[in-house]
């Protein structure tokens, strides 16, 4: 079944088949061309598939089984925080009061939704250590854009024109891409031998033409930058803002707060630390928490709580009256369905539970690292920076490539045959043949043991015969795919 020839739903179409029954027209029928001029009418229906419901169900069920997924197996993708997706979250998100609520419902009739958003905002403010939150951004990258547009508005409001944004050379690609979209020039800051920001390099580059420094802490090497306070002082000293990419928040919830580290703007990935399912590539959400000085520029509308007068209950409103706001980043209020799930998660864990989640995430990562410092992994896949890691760690496959002839790519492909999703590969760019491993807190010890054993098996096999890994995988629904051909002559739709 998994090895079926791939056939799209379009190729299963047979004229005359159908699934939906559209309600009959129950009003007096006028000729369509009387209602809409002929030259505006479509001549023929779009060539959507003609298939029955059983065929649709069977089609998608079968192709679903060609996916590996988190509910089925270990998924240690570094910086993605593939933690368990609690099932109660789906149940509450499906409650009709939430799911069938139109975004333009007058606030008086959407008090449940607005209160939920307000409570989520308050929770994120407490977790991040920054008082003001907007839930509007749809993903981390969207939050990054919000952060830089807020930065721009902040500087312009003070009559300053700044042109550069600093990012570490270990930054996630969304950071420099966002810098350009926000109209700034990206300038890289070097990493020192401890894996943190090279503070001397930062000092030379942090001038008053710098609008912002974007960081994540722990960084993409999984290392906490111990000089963060000093870094914050340098950045604030030039009048720039300090932005926190929340991708790695899972390491420090309840332990250290970005606001306390000195960050002005933080985005949080609800699909990472806050358990929203990844959906094969979304949806997620990227709410932002900001300091007092950035608050006036937050997107519009903001969810606000209005205290009751004369003993009446407080109520919640959408506040559009924000003269200095950067405006809107998207329609309506944001990915509310994601807020429901993340709020349910925060309620389930509570403050202690969130701290315990981070502690366990860091424990699991360090345990797996300890296993991988031994034996063949220790020999061929050494840690890139020899320090206690936080929730993730980065190994270099350079020695495996040189001495065994197997690249990180080959190890990743061979892991597929062992029933694991590989770690993130070839990121961060700073580390040659990088392997970024993030187990998360929801994995049991036995899973970590099994993963380390699989790595050892693969390396042992490579010692004997590197050819096996170089041509892996063998047992997956398809084997290595021709990406070159796909890119040279892209075919991006089913021809009909």
């Amino acid at each position: 079944m998994q090895r079926d020839r791939a056939v799209t739903i379009f190729e299963k179409s047979v004229s005359g088949r159908r699934a939906a029954v559209v309600p009959e027209i129950d009003v007096p029928v006028k000729p369509l061309e009387q209602l809409i001029p002929r030259d505006m009418l479509r001549a023929e229906g779009p060539r959507l598939p003609e298939v029955s419901e059983p065929e649709i169900v069977r089609h998608y069920n079968r192709i679903s089984r060609r996916n590996f997924d988190l509910d089925t197996g270990f998924y240690p993708l570094g910086s993605c925080t593939m933690k368990h997706n609690p099932k109660v979250n789906e149940r509450v998100a499906a409650l009709p009061g939430h799911a069938r609520l139109h975004p333009l419902t007058p606030p008086q009739r959407a008090q449940g939704a607005l209160e939920l958003m307000w409570l989520l905002q308050a929770s994120l403010a407490e977790i991040c250590g920054l008082p003001h939150v907007s839930l509007q951004p749809s993903a981390g990258a969207h939050g990054e854009l919000a952060g830089l547009l807020l930065t721009r508005a902040y500087h312009e409001d003070r009559g300053e024109a700044r042109h550069k944004v600093l990012t570490p050379d270990t930054a996630h690609g969304t950071n420099p891409a966002t810098v350009t979209m926000a109209g700034y020039e990206a300038v890289k800051v070097a990493t020192d031998e401890r894996g943190g920001i090279d503070v001397d390099d930062l000092r030379t580059k942090a001038d008053d033409d710098v609008a912002c420094l974007m960081l994540t802490n722990p960084n993409t090497l999984g290392l906490f930058d111990e000089r963060i306070v000093e870094i914050a002082e340098i950045v604030h000293g030039t009048g720039a803002t300090l932005y926190y990419d929340g991708a790695n928040l899972n390491a420090v919830m309840g332990i250290s707060r970005p606001g306390d580290m000195g960050f002005d703007i933080v985005h949080v990935n609800l699909h990472k630390s806050f358990s929203q399912p990844h959906g094969g590539g979304g949806p997620g959400a990227g709410p932002i928490a900001v300091s007092e000085r950035i608050e006036p520029f937050l997107p519009r509308p903001q969810v606000v709580k209005v205290e009751g007068s004369n003993g009446t209950e407080p109520h919640f409103e959408l506040d559009f009256d924000r003269p200095k706001s950067i405006g809107r980043l998207r329609g309506f209020q944001g990915n509310f369905g994601v807020f429901v799930r993340s709020y349910a998660y925060i309620l389930s864990l509570g403050g202690d539970g969130l701290r315990e989640a981070s502690e366990t995430a860091v424990l699991n990562a360090n345990y797996l690292l300890a296993l991988m410092r031994k034996g063949r992994a220790g020999k061929y896949l050494p840690i890139a920076f020899d320090r206690t890691c936080k929730h993730e760690f980065v190994l270099s496959g350079q020695r495996a490539k040189r001495e065994l002839g197997v690249k990180t790519l080959d190890i990743a492909k061979r892991l597929l045959d062992h029933g694991f999703h590989p770690p993130t590969v070839y990121f961060p760019l700073l580390v040659d043949e990088a392997l970024m491993v993030e187990p998360t807190e929801t994995e049991a010890k036995e899973t970590l043991d099994a993963f380390a054993a699989a790595i050892d098996d693969i390396l042992a096999e490579a010692e004997r015969d590197p050819d096996v890994a170089q041509n892996a995988p063998y047992t997956t629904p398809v084997r290595r795919l021709d990406e070159v051909g796909a890119t040279r002559k892209p075919v991006v739709r089913q021809p009909l």
Partner: protein, 460 residues
Amino acid sequence: MTRYTSATDADREQMLAAIGASSVDELFSDIPAGVRLDRPLELPAGMTEQAVYERLAELASRNTGAEDEITFLGAGMYDHYVPAIVDSITQRSEFLTPYTPYQPEISQGTLQAMFEFQTSISELTGLPVASAGLYEGPSSVAAAAYLARGATGRPKFLVSRGLHPHSREALETYSAGYGTSVEDIALAGGATDLAALEAAVDDDTAAVFLQQPNFLGSVEDLAALAPVAKSTGALLVVAVDALTLGVLRPPGDFGADVAVGEGQPLGNRLDYGGPSVGFFAAREEHIRRMPGRIAGETTDVDGRRGFVLTLQTREQHIRREKATSNICTSQQLNALAATIYLSWLGRPGIVELGELMTQRTAYARERLAAIDGVEPLHSRPAVREFAVSLDAPVDGVLRRCAADGINAGYPLGHDYPEWPNGLLIAITERRTRAHIDLLADALERAVAAERAGTTEAVNA
């Protein structure tokens, strides 16, 4: 509290021993004391699953959704019927819980679903290439603007006042970063004023933005507008309601460079505004500037047909500061819902749905126009939405209708000050003739009462 971890005390001991640390706290010793949180998080204690459910249900009970009132609210998101197969398929672990298909060998389900979504959107819009989706409608408009700016190097966007106000606002917000300006093109008779467009379009124009049907529900004359829009080399971007494309000629037919839109009506819940999905389709020549993931067809080493992420060098993880967008996580599960829905509707279904909505919309317009104090805002063709102007305070009218269990629509005055008592009414397959008759009756009573200045107490 509820835990989703497995570590027992014994596990912890063993793990710490293997690490060579004496406590979990030691693993955090490199965090300077000054930034350590020295108190518990001030959040309520963790709850049982049962308690969480009850709390979330209580919050839901204070929302008046489409289950609780007869709603004619539209303005970008619509109360369509989502068939049960959408949920049963999208709730499958294999679709719900993996991430972006970076390892294509074990992600063929996701990649094929993306390919099918791209095909569906290409078919609907009449444009040859489509990406696997962006966040939602208005930010997709902003993404099209980024493409146009990169392709033309020009600084100005012309935006019809028929474009969704949220799209226009998003364009303004993003323009602060793009270094571009946004200029409005007026409406005449409920549609984009051709003469105004002709006067405005020039060599500084990167793109012209139209919406089809426009925000007031009227079908724009793209045949007349498109050549004018493109006459000085600007790109034409059309934001289109995909569910009207069963009956309407698609933007691709008129020479649109880019078609974008809000995908919520395609098998996605209202969810108080999100998550949904934005679609993005374009002419072939723009493929290398398109934002979003793209799934491409290929073969494996054994000759099997398969799918991979293609043209990745456009994207942030490779091209970084020169990427066509900063997008990483998008809305893949919602795109899958859309693809399933479009397969469920199928070729005949989407046509029938379009015709049904068109006939009911015409009926609703007639019934409401016959009411004393209700004037159609325009008489242009419409598919599923139309606007009227009331000769009475619209807020009062809406409150009275709400008391009758009817949400009569979206008040236009905030976005279109020229129509302070304007009302936008949306029709879907869920709004029957009986509902429309109830709306007409309620509206008639409400308008009369507001005009008479009746001061009877009304429950808000």
